[in-house]
């Protein structure tokens, strides 16, 4: 028996047809849709005169465009309101589950899937959003697709896809105090650059990932796309099974036992070959922060901004990046002024992220110069924040809890960082203008964000723990 990988096992089980000298026809178990990338896809179906093949395998939410305050009021922005209405109309017409604005299960698409047990190990999962890689944390093959592919999956529950190459990234050791899963993935991307995994599907392995919680694994897999990978996966284990037991859409009874037995067969076999292997150690990883305009331009928080010869990016684009950020080579990042702090997004919008944030702000006060946006990933997360007393810790410290949505991650709604202002953000992209025209993003973990929120400057969270 040939030794195969987690990726191979899941991929091969979903091939409806292999086209010689062509792509595979891959069956998709779960299709998540949201209001931005679905309207044109549904219009395409209508013009072809065909319907949705498996509405019951399609799950819709409203997240990208939605306001994070006063969600009970009509949405003010006309274009956003139109997209939300289109999603409402389309899901009703085709009988697709839709947790829209105001629904008690509404939230960011990559938060609501896992927390309701819709995402399961061994599945293929797609969505018209690049951070679909998040679901790979469960040992699923999950990746983002374009609008014409959204139409393809609605029409046929399949996608035409060539099989990617395989990369394994192993990190052993134990993470130090104050070092979170977000730091692990930021560290890896900084080592190989924003295009370092292009053409590959990544598997994360080793002690650090085995010891990581499911939410931590989701944070890591979420940012796989930021190093160019098609997707990222972590093998399911007892943590995965414990997380999923009893969730609304998880299998029950005999179906559950059958599922668990199958999930236990998925991990990569001893001796399986990867096209590329990278190995790192936890001792090398301190809290990270980005200083440039792509996620690969990051470094340990105690370090200085590198000179251009020390980074993988080309000199001209590196200089342009630093100029946009108002930074210079050899400057210390610690102590830099912070104007905004955003905690939330599909990367770090789950309960453990808010627990981490609270652990630093407890007993302290929000810095005067900081505007903070605290955005839960879903109403379920919002409810947990309140039940665990984190809500009280937030308000005592002068912070305000908002309502779920993608919010300032991409600033499609009103949560926009003004031009020239610096934002420490727990989201996933720091491109020019991502959080608002002229905005300057520093990507970081919830602990680094919390430390900045109470001191008003970039601060090593380990000094406050």
């Amino acid at each position: 028996m040939q030794a195969t990988t987690l990726f191979d096992k899941v991929w091969d089980a979903h091939v409806v047809q292999h086209i010689p000298d062509g792509p595979d026809v891959l069956f998709i178990d779960r299709h998540f849709i949201h209001e931005v990338t679905s309207p044109v896809a549904f219009l395409g179906l209508e013009s072809r005169g065909i319907g949705v093949m498996f509405p019951q395998r399609t799950f819709a939410t409203a997240d990208h465009n939605t306001p994070t305050i006063n969600q009970h009021l009509p949405v003010a922005d006309a274009l956003s309101a139109n997209q939300l209405k289109a999603l409402e109309d389309n899901t009703t017409k085709y009988g697709i589950s839709h947790w829209g604005l105001g629904h008690h299960k509404n939230g960011i698409v990559h938060v609501i899937g896992p927390e309701n047990g819709i995402t399961l190990p061994g599945m293929t999962i797609v969505c018209g959003d690049s951070h679909t890689s998040t679901h790979g944390a469960f040992g699923a093959i999950a990746f983002g697709i374009g609008t014409s592919e959204v139409e393809m999956v609605l029409a046929s529950q399949c996608i035409m896809q060539p099989k990617a190459k395989k990369m394994r990234i192993t990190v052993n050791g134990t993470l130090g105090k104050g070092v979170l899963p977000k730091d692990v993935i930021l560290y890896i991307i900084a080592q190989i650059s924003a295009s370092g995994a292009t053409g590959y599907f990544v598997e994360y392995a080793g002690e650090v990932f085995e010891n990581m919680s499911m939410e931590g694994r989701m944070t890591v897999c979420n940012m796989s796309i930021e190093m160019g990978a098609r997707g990222g996966m972590i093998a399911p284990d007892e943590k995965t099974i414990a997380y999923l037991a009893g969730r609304e859409y998880s299998p029950k009874g005999e179906a559950w036992d059958q599922a668990v037995a199958y999930w236990n067969t998925l991990k990569t076999d001893e001796g399986a070959i990867f096209d590329k292997e990278l190995v790192y150690h936890a001792d090398q990883i301190e809290p990270q922060i980005t200083y440039g305009t792509n996620p690969g331009l990051g470094t340990g928080i105690s370090k200085s901004i590198p000179v251009s010869s020390a980074v993988l990016d080309g000199e001209a684009s590196y200089k342009k990046s630093l100029e946009y950020m108002g930074f210079a080579e050899n400057q210390s990042i610690l102590g830099k002024q912070v104007d905004y702090v955003f905690i939330g997004s599909c990367t770090n919008g789950r309960i453990e992220d808010f627990r981490a944030f609270a652990s630093i702000i407890k007993g302290r006060k929000k810095a005067q110069n900081v505007t903070a946006w605290i955005v839960p990933g879903s109403h379920i997360v919002e409810k947990q924040i309140k039940e665990e007393g984190i809500y009280d810790i937030l308000t005592d410290a002068g912070f305000e809890l908002r309502q779920p949505g993608c919010s300032a991650c991409l600033a499609m709604n009103d949560d926009k960082i003004p031009a020239g202002k610096y934002a420490v953000s727990t989201s996933n992209r720091n491109f020019e203008g991502r959080q608002g025209p002229g905005s300057r993003t520093l990507l970081a973990s919830p602990l680094v964000a919390a430390a900045a929120a109470v001191t008003g400057v970039v601060t090593d969270p380990r000094d406050l723990l």
């Binding site: 409806v16 047809q17 178990d29 072809r48 093949m53 599945m123 046929s156 399949c158």
Partner: protein
């Protein structure tokens, strides 16, 4: 069917002996906001075809009535630049079904194949022979035979084979895009779905 099936196209050809014709020339960015796929033919090579005041530029080949046909013959690296599928739509909507060149940019090639334009790659020498034949006689016909994968200059009988991915060839012969192809697999897909444990 997403477009008319392509079997054999025999037609006179329009010569564009320029290299590196990019997608911004094929369809300028200001025309990308349209929400339908029709009407793009009017804006094919817009800024080469028309002056700012809308009057046709007499030197541009599309404004010269001695050239016509369903085949466009272009210099190497045709379609370089952005991924806009609109470039392929513009060429199709104008009336071309085939573009012949010695090299195509990747994304443009894939976009073309998905909407019913056959990109035919020939050797640089054969491309020259085609340009010479058209110069000698603007009504000279070219025959593109997809089943046989050959392109022939009818005036001289010179012929060359061209390569095409098997899956894409089958789609073109049937007028299928990827969704049409998948739709043809519906019973296989439904049978597969029944076996899924989730």
């Amino acid at each position: 069917m997403a477009y008319d099936p392509f079997q054999i196209v025999q037609s006179s050809a329009v010569p564009l002996p320029l290299e590196n014709v990019d997608t911004d020339q094929i369809i300028p960015a200001r025309f990308l906001k349209a929400t339908k796929r029709e009407g793009f033919g009017d804006n094919l090579f817009r800024d080469w075809r028309y002056a700012h005041d809308g009057s046709p530029k007499p030197d541009f080949v599309l404004n010269n009535p001695i050239y016509s046909g369903k085949i466009l013959v272009a210099g190497r690296n045709f379609g370089s630049g952005s991924s806009r599928e609109h470039a392929a739509w513009a060429i199709y909507d104008y009336g071309f079904r085939c573009v012949i060149s010695s090299f195509f940019a990747d994304i443009f090639k894939n976009n073309s194949l998905n909407i019913g334009i056959l990109p035919v790659t020939v050797s640089p020498e054969f491309l020259d022979q085609i340009f010479q034949a058209i110069e000698a006689d603007p009504k000279s016909e070219i025959k593109v035979d997809l089943p046989a994968q050959t392109v022939t200059i009818l005036a001289t009988g010179q012929t060359e084979s061209f390569a095409i991915n098997g899956y894409k060839k089958n789609n073109m012969l049937n007028g299928f895009d990827d969704i049409d192809y998948l739709h043809s697999l519906e019973s296989d897909i439904r049978a597969f779905e029944k076996e899924r444990i989730f």
